[in-house]
């Protein structure tokens, strides 16, 4: 962030122009920003997240939760609406001044909060209204300092946010690289220190991170320089490489894909050997959820069936495994080997898929979503009920599920690395299945149903059968994930299969990019890995209590700004930005229907730029 400070001096224009502002707009965004700061403070984020340091002694996650807000709003308030074909004046001092004003205005939020906490007692309705928050907001140096500091901080942040428009593109790139890089290195602290320990480079980790967590000041300065240089060196090359890859055809593309794939596979096999227990546990969880998400991606992403009760199949997998392998399952103890049990699990899942699917898939849209939601809960309640207690153990569940004995190794929850490898095998399988099915007769039928069910039917597709197949394939993947979970944890309880699991997997699929395997991969790593699953902590363990809030906020943000997901399938992004694209093409005089193959690539490029420009 420090690099942004040097640029503004060059921007000076006539003073009256500065005051010729859209004050209403500034008021709106500044006010919203102030409200957002107050809200985040009262939720308890600054205090709750303060334990996690990002830069030792300078910046904690708690303050980070506040300062990104004015930065973002500063950026938004000075953003111009760019119309193709209409000349937009170059951003200049006026925009920066707007950012500054919005920043100062947003400073009102924390300032009023400080004065409020100091003078009134609202502890009863607002749990976080109290001395710890006051202490945090005033930096422990008294009211006066706090008030002045927040006005100053917000003003500077608003200014910085709006400066992003003024800076030349290259500088902007360096700034965003440095910001994102520093943040990710700090978030990945556990992984990096684990890795460096594994490679015998403890000294590196010790130098980078302070004892109580967070980057040291010295190392962060070094990192800023290193990342900055890196971003300048790699300028244009990353994008060039990806677009070159996309342009490859036929055999070459195949070869490049194989190289890429084996690279990733190699990393997945080798890296966990050097990682510690905690990170491996995390990876195992990511894998379990990835497996679920891949299954749901077939149901929702390909076939377009919005299944909100997907957790039912996860539960069936877990319980079937527990009954078949545990010595303590109440009514039936064949104590099968995990391998045999798995075959039955898959069959059971298929059967459940048929049983639940048959009545459900005759419905459409909202009705289907609600009914599946119901079925998801019904399955959990059945497992929990006293009626079936003699079979499934009711609320106590089934304990003592044995670990998986593979002959050459034993996969148990105590050794998360082994679990990860087991999950990796199943994930690879699931990815293969999704990939092959997508490009088959069945996959095309699913897509057709997603696009227009009635027409699909009229084009000769037996939609009932095809949708049932999607349900069954998805159910099988979920059940395998459930089976591994049972063996990993060593027990199953109805409460592990809350409706929340369905929702979170759905968010993973949507945020990652529906109908796209790479998207689902990225989605599960980012969401489950960093934020954590419904009960599993992620890299940012401090987020535990705010996880659902963040998931929700993320979902809303993505739906508004980037509905095609983090890694969109190319076509989906084209469609969602179709209007902009068509308008652009029209204004540029491109005749879409003639020989203009290059016009096709534009929406992808446009959305790429959009994503890069955002600061926080």
């Amino acid at each position: 962030m420090s690099t942004t400070m040097s640029a503004p001096s060059s921007t000076s224009s006539a003073a009256p122009a500065l005051l010729d502002q859209d004050w209403r707009r500034i008021g709106k965004w500044g006010g919203l920003c102030a409200v957002a700061i107050v809200l985040v403070s009262l939720i308890g984020m600054p205090v709750g997240l303060d334990r996690r340091t990002i830069i030792e002694g300078r910046l904690s996650l708690g303050y980070m939760a506040l300062i990104w807000i004015p930065l973002l709003f500063g950026y938004v308030v000075s953003k111009r609406v760019v119309l193709e074909g209409v000349k937009t004046p170059d951003p200049g001092a006026r925009d920066v001044f707007a950012g500054l004003c919005a920043g100062v205005l947003s400073g009102l939020g924390p300032v009023l909060l400080i004065l409020g906490i100091d003078n009134f007692n609202l502890r009863k309705p607002l749990v976080n209204w109290g001395p710890p928050l006051l202490e945090q907001l005033t930096f422990g140096r008294g009211i006066g300092f706090g008030v002045a500091a927040w006005f100053g901080i917000c003003a500077v942040l608003g200014l910085l946010g709006s400066l992003m428009h003024v800076l030349p593109k290259d500088v902007r790139r360096v700034v965003s690289f440095v910001t994102y890089g520093l943040l990710s290195i700090s978030i990945l602290e556990a992984v990096i220190s684990d890795l460096s320990e594994g490679f015998g480079l403890e000294s590196l980790a010790d130098a980078m991170y302070a004892k109580r967590g967070g980057l040291t000041v010295k190392s962060s300065i070094i990192l800023v320089v290193v990342i900055g240089v890196f971003s300048i060196v790699t300028k244009g090359r990353l994008k060039g490489a990806t677009s070159r890859y996309q342009e490859l055809q036929g055999e070459e593309r195949k070869r490049a894909s194989i190289v890429l794939f084996s690279g990733v596979a190699g990393l997945c096999i080798v890296l966990p050997l050097f990682l510690g227990k905690i990170v491996n546990e995390l990876l195992a969880n990511v894998g379990l959820f990835l497996l679920l998400a891949l299954g749901l991606n077939i149901v929702v992403g390909l076939a377009g069936i919005l299944d909100l009760g997907y957790v039912a199949f996860f539960a069936v997998g877990g319980y079937t495994t527990a009954v078949l392998t545990s010595a303590e399952s109440p009514f039936f103890t064949p104590e099968l080997h995990f391998g045999f049990a798995l075959i039955i699990v898959v069959l059971m899942a298929g059967l459940t898929g048929l049983v639940i699917g048959a009545p459900v898939i005759r419905m459409r849209g909202d009705y289907l979503a609600i009914v599946t939601l119901g079925f998801g809960e019904i399955i959990r309640l059945l497992f929990m009920s006293d009626w079936l207690k003699p079979y499934f153990g009711g609320a106590q569940g089934i304990t003592n599920v044995p670990p998986v004995d593979l002959g050459f190794a034993v996969v148990t929850g105590i050794d998360p690395r082994s679990v990860f490898y087991l999950v990796l095998v199943f994930c690879t399988l699931a990815i293969y299945v999704s990939w092959r099915l997508q490009a088959s007769r069945l996959g095309r039928a699913w897509m057709a149903i997603r696009e227009d069910e009635q027409v699909a039917e009229a084009m000769g597709i037996n939609t009932v059968n095809a949708k049932l197949m999607a349900f069954v394939v998805g159910a099988m993947m979920a059940a395998v994930s459930g089976a591994v979970l049972a063996a990993k944890v060593g027990s199953v309880f109805p409460n592990s299969f809350m409706i929340l699991v369905s929702i979170i997997i759905l968010v993973v699929v949507i945020v990652g990019g529906m109908g796209n395997i790479a998207g689902v991969l990225v989605g599960s790593f980012v969401l489950i890995g960093v934020l954590g699953g419904p009960r599993q902590p992620g890299l940012l363990q401090e987020f535990q209590s705010y996880k659902l809030l963040i998931y929700g906020a993320l979902l809303v943000f993505m739906m508004l700004q980037r509905p095609e997901g983090l890694v969109p399938s190319a076509r989906r992004s084209q469609e969602l930005h179709q209007e902009e694209f068509l308008q652009d093409a029209w204004l540029k005089g491109v005749d879409l229907d003639r020989e203009e193959p290059e016009a096709v690539e534009q929406p992808g490029a446009a959305s790429g730029v959009e994503g890069e420009g955002a600061p926080a």
Binding site: R444, A448, R450, E451, A458, E575
Partner: protein
């Protein structure tokens, strides 16, 4: 002699409204028949009844001597009746090639196993599906092939969407194609071109065609026979010239002369 498609006393009722009542009609192998009539005459309902999208209240629809009433739409399609839609309904997010490949669903067999194992039979079938798809698309010249194959369908112009819909219907390997306003929204040049293509659909591909159309020049140029519907009732049948001079038809389109009222 038995007809390819025979409709006996067909009646379709929505609530209290008779969308179609007492329609008797037949199509012989190799014919091109046009169905015309003012808006709301029941033409599209007629198509929907044949393709199984709406249920007939009374009557009988025979295709090659067998009843298609009560069949699911996909069963009707696999018997050999394909259709297009009045308000072009493609699969917008699928590529042009995929749009035409997917409509061969009922003519192909491979399921999960073949796709996962990449069996010989699977690859062979995929190749054939692709070849047939390209053949159907190639029927429209260079417009839908080449780089276009991998383009999403929503990127096509209006006229090309109509062409793609026809290609999609062709790929289901039908004997009878129902075209619902194939030239609606096209400019005169495109219309003339498509009129020629409809003729070639019969002569080169051997399809029998029933077509709903409002453009009378197209109707005149291609149809062997014309059926006129009004308020769900057939009011005239015969060659274009017979029908176009029929006073009842003129009345249905233009209304009755003033002096005859009273």
């Amino acid at each position: 002699m038995s007809h390819l498609l025979e409709i006996q006393d067909l009646k379709v009722t929505f609530g209290g409204l008779d969308a179609l009542s007492g329609l008797n009609f037949h199509v012989d192998e190799g014919e091109i028949v046009s169905v015309i009539g003012p808006n709301g005459a029941g033409k599209t309902t007629f198509f929907n009844a044949i393709s199984g999208l709406v249920e007939a209240t009374e009557g009988e629809i025979l295709f090659e001597g067998e009843s298609v009433l009560g069949l699911e739409p996909h069963q009707v399609t696999s018997l050999g009746i394909a259709r297009t839609f009045q308000n072009v309904r493609l699969f917008p997010n699928m590529t042009i090639l995929e749009n035409v490949m997917v409509s061969q669903h009922c003519r192909t067999r491979q399921l999960v196993f073949g796709a996962l194992m990449q069996t010989k039979a699977f690859k062979q079938e995929e190749r054939e599906i692709r070849e047939r798809a390209e053949a159907a698309l190639g029927f429209f010249g260079s417009r839908l092939v080449g780089y276009r194959l991998e383009q999403a369908a929503f990127m096509l112009s209006y006229a090309n969407r109509r062409r793609l819909e026809i290609a999609r219907a062709m790929a289901t390997q039908p004997r009878l194609i129902l075209l619902d306003e194939p030239v609606a929204g096209m400019n005169p040049m495109e219309t003339a071109e498509l009129t020629g293509l409809i003729g070639r659909l019969r002569s080169e591909w051997g399809f029998t065609i029933v077509m709903i159309e409002h453009d009378m020049r197209v109707v005149r140029d291609v149809s062997d026979r014309v059926v006129v519907l009004d308020h769900g009732v057939p009011i005239a049948q015969g060659s274009y010239d017979e029908v176009s001079t029929n006073p009842e038809v003129i009345e249905a389109y233009l209304g009755r002369p003033v002096e005859n009222r009273a």
